[in-house]
């Protein structure tokens, strides 16, 4: 598992990735995923965080898919000019 020749050279210099850094990153992930954020954060294991993260990303993907389906249908049925006008109007008014 190598992500390029440069990074493998770097890995040998920085030896191991420290646990603190991993914990830091995992805690950052923990704060992002709403499922975990609402529970008590101290008792969540790393694998659970990863699992919830994967589920969350899948959910977000599905939401984006649904939204793009709806947008696609809307775009095909709506007149193009009025759609543009509505978008521009909203951007101006904000």
């Amino acid at each position: 598992m190598s992500s390029g020749s440069r990074s493998s050279r770097q890995r040998s210099h920085s030896s191991r990735i420290s646990d603190d850094q991993i914990i830091q990153l995992v805690s950052k992930l923990r704060q992002l995923v709403p499922e975990i954020r609402n529970r008590r954060s101290d008792k969540v294991s790393a694998s659970k965080v990863l699992q919830e993260t994967c589920n969350y990303i899948k959910n977000l993907h599905r939401e984006v898919d649904d939204l793009s389906e709806r947008l696609g249908q809307l775009l095909s049925t709506i007149d193009a000019d009025s759609a543009e006008a509505a978008i521009i109007r909203s951007l101006l008014s904000n």
Partner: protein
């Protein structure tokens, strides 16, 4: 008022990036990757306007009668992803991966879902991988497959990419929801 702020942020972060030209993305530098404030409203507005313009091209490419409604969704999704990646300013790996191969992504996705490699035993056991529990290793692999372009990243880099990707996706959902509501309201007004 608020539109001035992101400009200042981006110039500051760009200056910081240029001051360390030789340092690669090490984990200690927390400001190395996610420089785009995905949560800010201005960012969402930037994305919405870019998306609106890109979608306008899509509309004009398929004039009055679109070919098939099933493909429109995919086109919108691809457009949205591409605009999201361009809004990321190319500093993250996932954004570069999206911009690099827009056509192959969806076909590869469907192929990969069917192909289930039964390679549970790792051929190489470098010191890092032995430290991780195999369960975590498996989950990290799944995560690497979900985030575009991050299949062969080291674990900490993968986590960094994932955090940025999640924030970006959330913003994408918010912007597209707002756009949908806008078009729904605008459509009913126009037809009346």
């Amino acid at each position: 008022m608020s539109s001035l702020q992101p400009n200042v942020d981006s110039t500051n972060s760009e200056a910081m990036q240029r001051s360390n030209p030789k340092k690669r993305r090490k984990i200690g530098h927390s400001n190395s990757l996610s420089l785009v404030p995905w949560r800010s409203e201005t960012q969402q507005r930037i994305y919405s306007s870019k998306l609106a313009e890109a979608l306008r091209h899509v509309i004009h490419r398929n004039p009055p009668s679109p070919p098939a409604k099933s493909s429109a969704g995919r086109e919108v999704r691809e457009t949205a992803d591409r605009v999201l990646a361009s809004t990321a300013k190319g500093r993250t790996r996932w954004s570069r991966a999206i911009l690099a191969s827009p056509l192959n992504r969806w076909k590869l996705r469907r192929m990969h879902k069917k192909v289930h490699k039964a390679s549970t035993g790792l051929p190489k056991k470098s010191p890092e991988t032995r430290r991780r529990l195999p369960v975590v290793q498996k989950k990290a692999r799944v995560l690497g497959r979900l985030v575009p372009g991050c299949r062969k990243l080291t674990f900490p880099n993968l986590l960094e990419e994932a955090t940025d990707y999640i924030s970006a996706l959330e913003m994408q959902v918010r912007a597209m929801t707002a756009l949908t509501e806008l078009l729904t309201g605008g459509g009913s007004l126009a037809s009346a």
